[in-house]
Symmetry: D2
Subunit: 388 residues, 4 copies
């Protein structure tokens, strides 16, 4: 098809030309005397993305989701007990990963479309008087339902319960897009991947560790090899990596950090909020409803939209893909067929998103859903206008 | 600014990633034994773009407008008389080029927004009983006003006048976008550049010559050097070029030809028509009028839109550029400040154009023009929907 | 510095322009209906690189060395006993990885510069009458010393011992460069990374599994998450991946497979042999000796060269890097300071290698080692000439 | 073929990755308010490359050789008389271009392999007591024979003859590689292209004009259109170009200027001298002779080498190209078959050139010329070593 494809899934996100250029480089010797300056430029700037001033950040050649394992195996001993709310596919997979590694996970089930409930977390921790629970697994932004949790509130709940469990946060679809306050929220481990807010291809897993979490690494008895932070820390301290780093992606990450920090993380978050506001106005104008059950938990990085009864959301997605050259996210697991998702994170602006909404409108009408063409776009433009 | 810039001027047009990749190559020896196969693949396929089966096509490292000179100096002797309708900035510049080269040009003035008038051309040629007029200079698609002329009708007028003048056609903003019938219309010289329908950066001028035009080259007494076709033809016949060719652009042209011919020139023209229909529906929905004075001459490669009295079109363009990251074409010369232009040629699709229309809507409203946000996009989507 | 950097370490290897172009692509939806055709084109061709006709090949976003873990945790139960010769840094790290994961490894120490000894392996296996040993860990090509083992001979030794242990082979610096006969040698797990013979940036780990090895996956009790092949196999069967794949690298891998298979794996191996022969002739002409203790075990993908007593090999490497813009591999661990290494694998040809040898010659002389400038290059050219 | 092609013709020269990246950009509106800052960054830095502080520099989408025409038609009236030494193919073509444009050229024939003779130029000008001669056409570096003329000496000769003719210098294979002193030598027009010292693909012609030359533009009566500097100057003054500029090449030129000026033009010239010294040492070691008849006129940007009687230089070139993947320049016109040429200008370093010399050595031996393999490389390395 002629013209530009619209990649509007919630990751991978469109890679800006500038980052493509940065990655289009010849390789170099990752053991050379010139290499550490480059490695340090990345490692020293990663924390700024999440307002982290203490602890360390790590980069692995791996998908973001592998960082679930990296966070766990370095801080939680074999067979330990963990606590986790489940309210979507990614919170489910985080739990599944922990169980596959042999941990016991107490699950707090929430309806899909809801967020983690701090009160229930508080109660569960308070009930654990023996402090068996080693960690709370929290997905900050549930990519399956377009729901953002209140991490500060979860931390406050943990404080109220006076519980020493670590706070392990999945920030895959929030970090580098939404406001993320690593220090303020006293997060212990935060994880993400390169293909969302960092605007890169997938292939890099990023792990943020607090000083508390780092203190566990040395003594942690979990058998581990690739994800072991001991060798990583020793190498990073010299400006190197323990195995051959994924250089092309690191070249991109170096430039992505420059782009993000030049824009300013507050501006990045504000831009995502502004774009999301337009999308939500469009959904309302169409007369549809969001998967997120309450406006205050609706995500600024993606919107999951419920199709009317009798329509299969996959039909909308297929029409959009095949006729209008736009990729939308499908509903996963529990909401398969009921939901489609529009990603609006990463290197995104109003006009691209207007084009995407236009594509959604045509696909909705083609799929037999009664909406007025232009209504959603018009409602979004009301939000996106910038009168002087 | 984050996100993708919308380049909606009528050239240069967005370069597809595929062509960018094709141009990102190391250089090679343009005198090697391997080179002719490459050169011939380009030269042999260029004619298919304009449905040319006789004559030859040439490529120069030069802008498209330099081909005005290339066409003239190879076919028209010094000081000769020419005939040219003027109905916009590019027909004006074609005339100016001819005059700068010492030719005498009889100008048929038409209002800007109108097309060339075959009847007036016929009359002028009929009056030239001595057959002094050596060529008719015709801009197929006037990029300044968004007007397309009827080349077939002009050729028919020339036939009725039984006049032997050559027909020299500027196809800069039509060739490779709009239907162009070199053989059927018996065009003698047609010119274009790489940065419009060919979807490449500017830097290549393309010249199509009929057998009649080619027959003039050898005997033409116009002093000339760079644009002389004698050396070009001799070199091309061996698969080479007389001077170092602009290789990166040729790599792009080779791939652009594959893209265009794979899509099929009829499909390319149909796509441009479909996209233009949507843009015109948007203009109507906004309550604005086109610069083109009649629907049947409205161009399918760009639309020039007249702003209401009291508004400077440059304000709309500035707002669009600075607030919404979209480049629109400005009004030139006579229509400066009165008109802005939306290019919809080249590697373009409905969603990109929907985004562009959204940007125009916000800029119009910001500039104080009363339109309903979403109205133009909605009207366009009505045209662009593809119900199964 | 002006001009092209010479990257002559044994990986990452120079990425050919063609692969850089292939990776310079916009992302796409890895869950789309169009994706499986792409994924299958890769997965179905990977086996041809190692002449594998049974079993399966897998790709992970990970470094090659992480595949040590992937191979082990899917096939060997916790705490099991393994057997491994150690004769260089990478055989050491393979062992270390196994131990970190809780396995017990019987190590057969060999001098660095020697290869694995099939007779000792046979003896060790024969002594294990209880068949406690679950696997033999073998580095095919020891990148630290430039030594290639005879995998067929090791397999024959295992056969003679009638031992059922799996044969797990590290082919990081051999696969896609040297002849690798997965089926013929009855290898069970073979691993490699993208940054050597595949000519790509690091970031993809590749794992080949025999039917025997695959049969172990389901029942293997090793706790594992990211590297678990159960989810990978289920997804691959549908043309997908369980987590977001490293798309840019996969685009490169797809094209690298085309390059390799078009050249033909036998031709690839022959080219590496021919280039290595020239390098070895140069070493001889310089009057230096190789780290590999016997000619028949000298590697065709890299050459490790011992510097004379009294000279620190790191000086040679530093001079080469800083004055002549060439990166050489340093000696690791036991041979640090005694050895420098020239990589000649991947997208390599005689003239590039001649330039590299020229750089080595200048660095050697600058470091005070008495050699005749041009002597090594001349000796290599004798090998590389192709008289018709 | 695997591995990197060696492009060792005297232009196009290898494009560094950094410039390829710079050119791999999306297009932009060349009439936007943001454009002039970019255009001015180029136009204001071009003069520094030739140490020009007065007059102006211009860039055309055109090959370098088209600048012959651009220089002439803006400064010399129709039919005027010119003086030009001819000592190679490019001085011949410069003369031919002038004649094609209707000028009368007095030719001073010199043997190929010799440089322009200042004494003969002085004599010819002194004899022109009527000052009919309007310009002296001088090729600074004759790319066909590898000979560099002494421009300062030619200027001194003109001064001694007290002749007002303009000095028009072809610097195609010298500017941005060899020392070029526009002001000091009082050059009036200097021309070059993008594909030599500027390290870019061909497609940009560059023209430097002195104040004296610029003063002629307005009144020059030569009919001209595309190459007319009046419109160019008017547009440049505003930061624009009269026709659509070749943006991708300009993006490259902007970056090339940064590379060159960061290295420093004196360092660039010194590097080219150093590399050339090595090549000449190799030629001597092979026992061959250069086309340049005297060492003091041997070019630092390329070396033309005479093959022994009985051998066709084209055989050497063919073998080099087909067996060793290196492109060498062939002998042109008078020296066809007698000479092959090695380009060593642009983004070049010692190791690349060592590889190239190695390729030449194998091709020479294969062609039956008796040289010792390694002898030329060794001799060059003697020159290129950088003992601390």
């Amino acid at each position: 098809m002629a013209g530009r494809h619209f990649l509007q899934i919630p990751g991978p996100t469109p890679v800006p030309d500038r980052l493509q250029r940065a990655m289009h480089r010849q390789m170099e010797d990752h053991r050379s005397s010139a290499f550490p300056a480059f490695a340090r430029r990345i490692l020293s700037r990663l924390p700024q993305v999440v307002h982290q001033t203490k602890g360390e950040a790590f980069v692995f050649p791996a998908p973001g989701s592998a960082m679930w394992e990296a966070a766990l195996v370095n801080t939680v001993n074999p067979g330990a007990r963990l606590l986790a709310p489940r309210f979507g596919q990614f919170s489910h997979l985080f739990i599944q990963t922990a169980r596959n590694l042999g941990y016991r996970v107490d699950v707090l089930e929430e309806p899909w479309g809801e967020a983690a409930d701090p009160a229930r977390i508080e109660a569960a921790l308070a009930a654990d008087t023996a402090h068996e629970i080693q960690g709370v697994l929290l997905v900050h932004n549930e990519t399956a339902t377009g729901v953002t949790c209140d991490v500060a509130a979860v931390r406050a709940a943990m404080d109220r319960a006076k519980h020493p469990a670590l706070l392990l946060v999945d920030g895959v679809s929030s970090i580098a897009s939404l406001d993320f306050r690593f220090d303020d929220w006293r997060v212990d481990c935060a994880i993400t991947g390169s293909q969302k807010g960092f605007m890169l291809p997938a292939g890099l897993g990023i792990l943020y560790m607090s000083e508390t979490a780092l203190a566990r690494v040395e003594g942690c008895t979990m058998p581990r090899a690739y994800f072991d932070l001991k060798a990583m820390r020793a190498n990073n301290a010299q400006g190197y990596f323990p195995s051959t780093p994924a250089l092309s992606l690191l070249y991109g990450l170096d430039e992505a950090l420059t782009m993000l920090l030049d824009e300013g993380m507050d501006n990045v978050a504000a831009r995502h909020k502004r774009l999301a506001t337009g999308v939500r106005a469009a959904v309302k104008a169409w007369g549809l409803r969001e998967c997120a059950k309450r406006p205050e938990i609706a995500s600024n990085s993606l919107t999951a939209i419920v199709v009317p009864e009798g329509v299969d959301a996959r039909t909308v997605i297929d029409i959009a893909f095949n006729r209008y050259d736009i990729a939308l996210g499908s509903g996963l697991s529990e909401v398969a067929g009921k939901v489609f998702r529009i990603g609006h994170l990463g290197d995104m602006n109003a006009l691209t998103l207007a084009g995407a909404l236009a594509g959604v409108e045509m696909a909705l009408v083609d799929a037999g859903i009664q909406i007025t063409l232009g209504s959603g776009v018009g409602a979004a433009l009301q939000q996106w206008r910038m009168p002087s």
